[in-house]
């Protein structure tokens, strides 16, 4: 049965338009979420990483805890927020791609932010000291930190993408897994398996594995570069 399913999965990947539309939707939803998370987290991570203020330690601890936030909890929070009786219910976003982006954003921000803070904190003090000593203002010093930490920031983005594209609980809860509308790779795999249709599930699973493998490969390469830099 496995061999038969694999063969069907390969056929679907080469011929099935639906498979690719699910893949594309997944990439768009997760890509948008990670892009937004990056836009929010990197400046915030720079500020937190470079500043000294009261409550910084507890704040970082909260962010780090958020890195392990269960997707279903993130989904539940966003569901409550966007449900008809919730504070943002009037926007009518529940069971849309936008709701899925918001849920994945909630998952991605702590991860990208946490890694960014850690990367900025690990920038050699000598680099910042040297920049300031040569006349860098705060923004210019922050740019030095960003430049020094660039490889780890890339790791943060890839890790964020890896986390959100592979999660199922949050998107299922707020997206509803509507075929042709909000169905993404993970929710499609769940549905197909539930129906006993393993071919599509396997095809999507293979794509997810390829994405995970590529992301890990890129991260490993970046880390090697960072070690050698």
């Amino acid at each position: 049965m496995i061999r038969e399913s694999l063969s069907q999965a390969a056929d679907l990947l080469f011929t099935g338009g639906e498979v690719w539309s699910i893949i594309l939707r997944s990439l768009i939803v997760s890509g948008t979420a990670v892009l937004l998370a990056t836009v929010v987290s990197i400046p915030l991570g720079l500020i937190i990483g470079l500043s000294r203020f009261t409550g910084r330690g507890p704040l970082v601890a909260v962010i780090n805890t958020g890195m392990a936030l269960p997707p279903v909890v993130a989904g539940l929070l966003v569901f409550l927020l966007l449900s008809r009786s919730g504070p943002l219910g009037s926007l009518g976003l529940l069971y849309t791609k936008q709701a899925m982006v918001v849920a994945q954003l909630v998952l991605a921000i702590p991860l990208v932010l946490g890694i960014t803070i850690s990367a900025i904190k690990n920038v050699p003090q000598q680099a910042l000291l040297q920049a300031r000593s040569l006349g860098a203002n705060r923004l210019q010093t922050a740019m030095v930190a960003l430049r020094e930490a660039r490889l780890m920031l890339l790791v943060a983005i890839i890790a964020g993408m890896g986390r959100v594209i592979a999660e199922v609980g949050a998107v299922m809860m707020v997206g509803g897994n509507i075929r042709g509308e909000t169905q993404v790779m993970t929710t499609a795999i769940m549905e197909e398996v539930r129906k006993g249709e393993f071919a599509l599930g396997l095809a999507l699973g293979m794509i997810l594995l390829v994405i995970a493998f590529t992301a890990n490969g890129v991260m490993a390469r970046i880390e090697r570069q960072a070690m050698g830099a």
Binding site: L129, Q130, R132, S133, L134, R147, A229
Partner: protein, 391 residues
Amino acid sequence: MSVLLKAEGVRHAYGTRRVLYLDHLEVRQGETFCIMGPNGAGKSTLVRILNLVEAADQGTIRFDGQRVSPRSLAARRRMAGVFQQPHMFKGNVLDNVAYGMRLRRRSRDEIAAHAGEALELMGLTELARRDARSLSQGEKQKVALARAIAVRPELLFLDEPAAGLDPQARGRFQLDLRRVVKELGATIVYVTHSFTEALAIGDRLAVMTAGEVRQAGPVHEVFQEPADVEAARFLGFENLLPGRVVGDAAGAIVELEQGGRVYTRSRLRGRVTVCLRGEDITLHPESAVEDISPTANRFPAEVVSLEQAGAVFRAGLDCGFMLKTTQARPAVRALGLVPGARVEVRFDEEAAHLISCPSPDGELRAGTLRPSGSATGERPMAAAAEDDSHD
């Protein structure tokens, strides 16, 4: 000479560890001001605070008469610093040398001209297109110096820039540094561990221990006349002999606690510590006791220890009181120095420097960390620094 930089009441701590306790320090326009002290004395912290890259917990810094802080960007841009571990920014040597000017948004022409001059001055023109991070440590340090001088700072901070280099590279770097200091004409604050460097290029010198400036003044004066036991110990006075002035001839005659009398040129009275460098002691065959010698400080002695320290030998001598001396190999050979050998010790009256030490445990107290004007009754070192800085 006008004062360019003045620090007053500067205090700084990392957690509960106090690292800086400075009452007063001045750097004058155009001078090379050296700072020396043992590791952990607070020199680098002081430099970072004066360079306005780190904020002090307390105190004021005035630059060119204006009160400044790390937020004073205009003041910071009139300064530059080179640190122990040079950090190379990503890019080639030219990018690094141009970095400070780019921060100041200087024109392309100006950047090219100043960077070119700085590279030439440091002999780095050939390396301009090399990846800065691929350079050797010595080359990186030269790039760091070129990068600092390219912005034409009025005040240049050098924090042990040769510390991480091997002896050969250090020698070459110090030669470059001397040339640059001469040509730049800027005011320089130079932290160094090298007495030779401080004597060669310094105008004034501050000695720091345990976060305090023990003494500041003209380099030769500080070297020859340390203000307290702590400074003397750091400045290489190996022999610190407590005693009391019991009479005078041309100067003070000191009766040592260990026994024996030392003749000096000092005018101090009361309890003192005699400071004597090992290299100011000469050894002679014991049979020469009857020779005519201009010095009154002549003592028969027994060699109690002898050990080789690189190219020289360090000898411990018992002449009623204990002395340490450094002797070159030929002298050791000529005198047949071995433990148990008997010799005559001589040193000039000028070589014996006296430090006032009013209480019986004065030496002990001088070696402890204390705020200025402490209960020892000694002249506070920070006050001494202040007086010196008004010379």
